[in-house]
Symmetry: C2
């Protein structure tokens, strides 16, 4: 199985020269197979956690995302003589909806990212078994696929001495995002880096970390209804063309959002988050009750509310935990009453660390 898998790997991926050639353009810190010395494993088992992420963020559509604490995926990698050297074998998937996920590394977010990192590191003599624990439900709008990819990329990198930089880990994870939801880094970048991350460009990859002041309180109220909103369908709802007034409005709100993050202005952050006139108005009607849920969140004291990622999760922001829980219950009631959907909620803080090795 592992050998067969790895054979597909060789077939499906371009040659190192071509692949790395493009990578060097996109990421100055990447290193080609030809020049990199094969690294040794530093452990027999490495476990990594990658946090959930909230992307799109209203006017931050497609270029701004942030990581939330205490929710995410875990990937363990183990040196395994049974696995063909230089390859990955996914041994087990646990947690949310494991049966829906392929164990073929070429069709699994964690597998694709892990393979990419092994290629970047030019690992040819060691095979790895991979174990994925899905802490995140699929298709929730919380960066489920990105968290799997980020955890796998970080786990493999740690296994071989942490030789790759953040941009390379993001590029490796982007290979997996490309397959499942398009070439967008607004989930993988914050999942790997933590905090708020602005994707300035892809060619070359340029990421701007936006530091939210450590002394400020920021809580995300994440309410997920029992409803499947596939990314592709939500993407199809986007307008092809945008009028200049709406473009200028959303640009100014994007600027206000970035300013609010850097200034630690949670009220301003919420207001900007709520102000999208282009994407949210098209997508919200596709999620039963979403418009009413947003109104309920604002009535209950949220500074702002929008769709998390491509939905169906609704995200509201506030600056204290208790108010966050009150808002959550109003949002759950509204999903049931206005959308006829059961929903569950979490009130989480910003994850400032991003994907990391864990030892328990």
């Amino acid at each position: 199985m592992a050998t067969a898998t790895s054979t597909w790997t060789c077939l499906l991926y371009p040659s190192p020269a071509g692949r790395r050639g493009r990578m060097r353009v996109r990421c100055s810190s990447s290193v080609s197979v030809s020049t990199r010395r094969e690294p040794e494993p530093v452990a027999t088992v490495v476990k990594a956690f990658a946090p959930a992420t909230v992307a799109n963020l209203g006017p931050g559509f497609d270029f701004l995302g942030c990581a939330v604490d205490g929710l995410g995926d875990i990937v363990s990698v183990k040196v395994d003589p049974q696995v063909h050297p230089g390859e990955i074998c996914i041994q087990d998937i646990t947690g949310h909806a494991p049966t829906k996920l392929s164990k073929n590394p070429l069709w699994n977010c964690a597998g694709i990212a892990a393979i990419e990192v092994m290629k970047m590191l030019a690992v040819r003599s060691v095979g790895l078994s991979l174990y994925l624990h899905k802490g995140l439900p699929l298709g929730s709008g919380l960066g489920s696929s990105a968290a799997s990819a980020a955890a796998a990329a970080v786990a493999v990198n740690e296994m071989f001495g942490n030789k790759l930089g953040v941009e390379e880990l993001v590029l490796a994870s982007l290979k997996s995002e490309e397959k499942v939801s398009g070439y967008h880094a607004d989930n993988v970048a914050p999942s790997i880096m933590g905090g708020f991350v602005l994707i300035r460009s892809y060619e070359p990859l340029e990421l701007i970390q936006l530091k939210f002041p450590v002394e400020k309180e920021l809580y995300f109220v994440l309410v997920t209804p029992e409803f499947e909103a596939p990314t592709k369908k939500m993407r199809a709802a986007l307008p092809g063309e945008i009028g200049m007034p709406h473009h200028v409005w959303n640009c100014s709100q994007a600027g206000a959002l970035v300013a609010a993050v850097l200034q630690g202005d949670v009220a301003g952050l919420g207001k900007a988050l709520s102000s999208d006139k282009i994407v949210e108005p098209r997508r919200a009607p596709l999620i039963p009750g979403m418009e009413a849920v947003k109104r309920a969140a604002l009535r209950a004291g949220a500074f702002g509310c929008t769709i998390s990622g491509a939905g169906p999760t609704a995200v509201a922001v506030v600056d204290d935990q208790q108010t966050g829980h009150d808002i959550a219950s109003h949002m759950i009631d509204s999903f049931l009453h206005d959308g006829n959907l059961k929903a569950s909620a979490k009130v989480l803080q910003l994850d400032r660390l991003g994907a990391r090795r864990i030892h328990n």
Copy 2:
């Protein structure tokens, strides 16, 4: 003349009730005629300076502007018993192109703003003579009309004890901008407030001051060719509709621009300034040599370059003065060689104070 002028004033402006009614919506700090006690003049003569401004700022089109130091307009107001109480008479206009400007306060940027401030203050018993010195050429893309309005608004407000807040002064100046170049605050707000200002909304008016770190050096290279680029013509060149990829790109650059300002990252600021894919590509070809001038600026070491306001001035940014002067000479040469236009340059710093009373 003054009396006739003031009669038109009454005809052209809505009743205080209607006017103030809308103002209270737009500006929480405004006060209606009915509740405000008429203020006394605190001096016989007051002089105010308002700085030039660079608006549009690439992806900051229509919502972001900044003030530049050492260049601007000056307005003096004098208590004048010869002027009908509650009214303004423009006595003299000096400096750049005085003959092109009307002395009718209803058709002069300084006059309109001064009248609006007197209405906000409910001045009914004192008439003022106004003297305008144009330090800024007309139609240069450096906020000439905004500087006249801002200086007049501040001068009249200071004359009566500085009772109006920043938002009211911006709203008063907007009345004048509305007449000459549309209802846009991206010149008047920074001219009044100084530094970088983001216009978040108009209904109500919400302004976000973006503090550029005081310890950082930022120089604007402003190169103005002898060419008239009227605002309305440049506005007509804008695209009606924008595709989603360009919208997302410009939004992300707008976010990067705001981040660069707040983080004091001049290189990032320049890069974002240079990255507009929507407005600059349509407008630059209308200014002979502009595209070549931008290339020349970047070759000479500028971090970025774009059109200032609606042009024809080109603005480049850099972090030291000498390099600024070198870049300026390359830009002047390029305007002559590639656009067959004579040009003059200034290398100026950020104005952090905004419009203020002066005593010399």
